[in-house]
């Protein structure tokens, strides 16, 4: 079995993973500039060493309700079709190699909007790791 590396992170207490290869870097405390009238899922823009990077509000994106307000200070920078984008998350976890046998596609009654975003779930011993689709994150915008 070939294992794949996943970068893991937390949003609103949930555990998410994304292909580690897609992650360029993780940044703390990047200053955010709001972009008025932009989509709700875009929190604003950030300066990543001179590049303008849109910051994705993952709460909005995933339809999660923040318990203690949105205090995400960590951005996961992804490279997508030549552009950079940042996912705003609460915390990051380790990079974990996973094999396909723990993977399961989303159930049939999974909401359609989330289905574009969520590839499926890895059943880890302690908890479930929701695997996000990078292209879904981009497309939904």
């Amino acid at each position: 079995m070939i294992s794949t590396d996943f970068a893991t992170f937390y949003i609103g207490g949930m555990y998410f993973g994304i292909l580690a290869n897609d992650v360029l870097e993780v940044n703390h405390n990047l200053e955010l500039t709001i972009v008025p009238k932009s989509a709700k899922t875009i929190r604003g823009i950030m300066n990543l060493r001179g590049q303008i990077v849109p910051a994705i509000d993952m709460y909005e994106q995933l339809g999660l309700i923040p318990k203690n307000g949105k205090t995400e200070r960590i951005s996961i920078i992804l490279q997508c079709e030549g552009h950079l984008l940042a996912l705003l998350v609460d915390d990051v976890g380790p990079i974990i190699p996973l094999e396909h046998d723990t993977f399961e596609a989303p159930p049939n009654n999974f909401p359609m909007t989330a289905r574009e975003l969520v590839l499926g779930v890895h059943k880890l011993p302690e908890q479930l790791l929701v695997i996000l689709d990078k292209s879904g994150v981009v497309n939904i915008l």
Partner: protein, 775 residues
């Protein structure tokens, strides 16, 4: 442009040609039958000959000509390339190189005699031999080639080719061969050069003396470098505050070095992106020829300032607009040849393309000597299209009418041609030009021609921007769009914002400027709950409309590096990009055109363009200046300033009598004094004290001055208000104007003068009557 300016280019090109020829000849030797290479070589030599001719380099031209003749024969397969021919040709190249080096050094051709070389080349060209006629002897490694030419036979040693590497020897050889055709090789080496070439040992030619051949750099690499330098500039900006914060001398000096170096780096980097405008223009002669052909017109294109440099990105951006405008000039502007003859013009029309630098901007103009724009037809069309009203059409100045050509959907050409006149055009041109921070204006003289001028910044990458604040957010506005900044202080009595048909407006001198509140436009929360008395307005010129942007605070002007926002914000028209501030934060750049569009202002202006009659009269009414003065018992009197020649304060003793008239000496004139209080309703007759200065308004009637005596002169007011006639009419008053909270009475000078004359006659008459009256 003097020859000296383009000489370096000539030299660079000549060098390139020679280098390529070196390679090609070598290739040709390996594949003598390769016609493609022969054609290339022929073309290259031909180009060099042409260029030399242009500069009047006779020696160069002659040598090239001889080589070209030989190459022509090769190309046409009249002769076959053999080693001898190749050698001679390579030798020719060496000679050419020596001449070019001489030109580079002294800007003139070095002296020298090439007739031998030319003769050899000529002989080779005439030698109609085929391969099997060439006698080759390889056994002695002493290849002898015989060339049959009439009854001469020239024998050449191939070791000759080695000696050819030294041109000075060759000249000698050739000079000898002039007299002796058919000598043995051995003798040749003993002959001293008859005409030693310049620049021998001891006088080495510095190949990089004047002209350094340019290095070709991948464009992407250049763009990457450019953006790295931009980053560097921003990083430097972040570094600068530390210098003061820490007050460490060594740190400060290091930072200062970085600062200076960055500046220099930036300047030089910008230079690398500069390209001559000829890069875009070079395709225009062909374009002009094609368009002229299609329109059945005779056109000559003249280009001036082809060496003017501007940023590469801008070059791309202006290409299409220029093409469009040139087409317009030929299709719409220039008349047909027969029409031109009728007008007394030459059959051939001219289109002049001109570029130059002006105050840090590049100015490009496209002129034609055609029919010019029919202003009246533009007026009619504009009224038809409801862009302006009939009344406006009459009152607008020509330049304002011409500006209408840039309005979307405007085209005066009756028939739509396949070249231009589709009704899209000048507006698109204008939009494209303003996208790169440029402006465009048009000037036309009926029967004489039209000139369109575009002004664009030198570079796109870095621009000057004004930072403003709205609701704690900073935004940058490109400075090229800013007309002026207005600060209204309501507590100081400035008139505030007004509502006009649902649009907030502001009176800027004599016109109404529609306003957009930035926080509303961007759906930000209002940050001024305490409704401050100060209103900051940035007056902006967008391509569609002029408007004022209300912001919370006007900050500073800074050079910014424009960054694209990326595909996620594509549908946001309010922003033109982003930039990075000194503190490392990103800030948005406002798109002046986009905001006008988004706000619906442009649509509003276009669908109801100042349509309301009242709007027109208010917006376009000329401002009138009035001089305020006072008569005894009447405070707010006014006379239109254009009726006032000057103000004069006179002493009572200056007043003299002329019959029953009071007069004073005024220059060379005798000026009659007219006491206004006698002619205006409500005024009391003022008793002047003996030592009181008398203010006089000097007014001219038919070149004769008349002094209007008033009690006191106040200031000048500018008013746009219309005069309201008073009912019933008051003596000596034309009507009144309400200006602010006061009412100004305007005197009726004509009526007063009429009364005055009547009065004069009456007094004279009464005197006569008295005289003739019976005792």
């Amino acid at each position: 442009m003097s020859d000296d300016d383009i000489l370096p280019e000539f030299i660079i090109e000549a060098r390139e040609i020679l280098d390529q020829l070196d390679i090609d000849f070598v290739k040709l030797e390996e594949a003598p039958e390769d016609n493609k290479i022969i054609r290339n070589v022929f073309r290259a030599v031909h180009t060099l000959k042409g260029n030399s001719g242009f500069f009047g380099f006779k020696r160069l031209e002659k040598v090239c000509h001889a080589a070209e003749a030989l190459l022509g024969k090769l190309r046409d397969s009249v002769i076959v390339l053999d080693e001898k021919t190749t050698t001679s040709l390579l030798q020719t190249l060496d000679i050419l190189r020596v001449i070019i080096e001489g030109i580079e050094k002294n800007h003139t051709e070095p002296d020298g005699e090439d007739s031998q070389l030319i003769e050899i080349l000529g002989l080779l060209a005439k030698a109609n031999i085929s391969k099997n006629q060439t006698k080759v002897d390889n056994s002695e490694n002493n290849l002898l080639t015989s060339i049959a030419h009439e009854d001469h036979v020239i024998l050449l040693d191939t070791s000759f080719s080695e000696s050819l590497a030294h041109p000075q020897e060759i000249t000698g050889i050739y000079s000898e061969s002039e007299h002796q055709v058919g000598v043995h090789v051995q003798e040749w080496h003993e002959i001293e050069p008859a005409h030693p070439l310049p620049f021998e040992a001891g006088e080495p030619v510095n190949k990089h003396h004047d002209v350094v051949p340019p290095v070709k750099v991948n464009l992407e690499l250049l763009d990457t470098l450019m953006s790295l330098v931009s980053e560097m500039v921003l990083a430097r900006n972040r570094l600068l505050p530390f210098s003061e914060e820490f007050g460490n001398h060594r740190l400060s000096s290091a930072i200062r070095s970085i600062d200076l170096l960055t500046l220099e780096l930036q300047e030089n980097m910008l230079k690398t992106r500069m390209q001559p405008i000829s890069q875009v223009w070079s395709k225009f002669p062909r374009l002009v020829r094609d368009v002229a052909h299609k329109c059945n017109k005779k056109v000559k294109l003249i280009q001036e300032g082809t060496e003017t440099e501007l940023d590469r990105g801008l070059l791309d951006a202006i290409s299409d607009p220029l093409v469009h405008m040139i087409r317009n000039s030929i299709d719409h502007g220039l008349e047909s040849p027969s029409e031109r003859l009728k007008q007394g013009k030459s059959e051939t029309g001219y289109v002049l393309l001109k570029a130059n630098h002006e105050n840090g901007l590049v100015v490009i103009s496209i002129s034609d000597d055609g029919a010019g724009i029919d202003i009246d037809s533009v007026r009619t069309k504009a009224v038809e299209k409801k862009l302006i009203t009939a009344q406006q059409a009459q009152t607008f100045e020509e330049s304002k009418i011409l500006d209408l050509l840039f309005t979307p959907g405007f085209s005066t050409k009756e028939t739509v041609s396949n070249l231009s006149g589709r009704g899209v055009g000048m507006d698109v041109v204008k939009t494209n030009i303003s996208k790169i921070g440029g402006s465009i204006d048009i000037e036309s003289l009926r029967g004489k021609g039209t000139t369109i001028r575009i002004r664009i910044p030198l570079t796109l990458a870095i621009m000057s921007a004004l930072f403003v604040r709205s609701n704690q957010e900073r935004f940058a506005i490109p400075q090229s769009s800013i007309l002026e900044l207005v600060r209204l202080d309501l507590s100081m009595g400035d008139r505030g914002l007004e509502d006009f048909y649902g649009t907030a407006v502001f009176r800027l001198r004599n016109s109404l400027v529609p306003l957009i509140h930035l926080h509303q436009q961007l759906e930000l929360q209002e940050s001024h709950p305490d409704a401050s008395d100060v209103i900051n307005i940035v007056i902006l010129q967008s391509s569609g409309v002029r408007y004022g942007l209300v912001v919370d605070e006007v900050l500073n002007i800074e050079e910014i590096v424009v960054k694209p926002l990326g595909p996620m914000f594509e549908d946001l028209n309010d922003f033109g990009g982003a930039t990075i501030l000194g503190d490392g934060r990103a800030a948005l750049i406002l798109d002046v055109d986009g905001i006008a569009m988004e706000s619906g202002l442009v649509a509003k202006m276009q669908s109801k363009p100042l349509i309301d009659q009242e709007t027109i009269s208010r917006v376009n009414e000329e401002e009138v200046s009035m001089l305020l003065f006072e008569l005894e018992g009447l405070n707010n009197l006014a006379i239109p300033l254009n009726l006032v020649h000057r103000l004069q304060i006179i002493r009572p003793e200056q007043i003299q009598k002329n019959g029953n008239r009071n007069v004073i000496q005024f220059g060379s004139h005798i000026m009659e004094l007219l006491y206004l209080d006698a002619y205006v309703s409500g005024a009391k007759s003022k008793k002047w004290k003996a030592d009181e200065s008398i203010p006089v308004i000097v007014h001219y009637i038919n070149a004769i001055p008349i002094g209007l005596v008033v009690s006191q002169v106040h200031d000048v007011v500018n008013t746009t208000q219309t005069l309201q006639e008073t009912t019933p009419p008051q003596k000596g008053l034309l009507g009144c104007i309400s200006e602010g909270n006061r009412i100004i009475n305007v005197i009726n000078i004509d009526e007063i003068m009429g009364m005055h004359r009547m009065f004069d006659v009456k007094t004279q008459y009464s005197v006569l009557a008295q005289l003739s009256a019976p005792e």
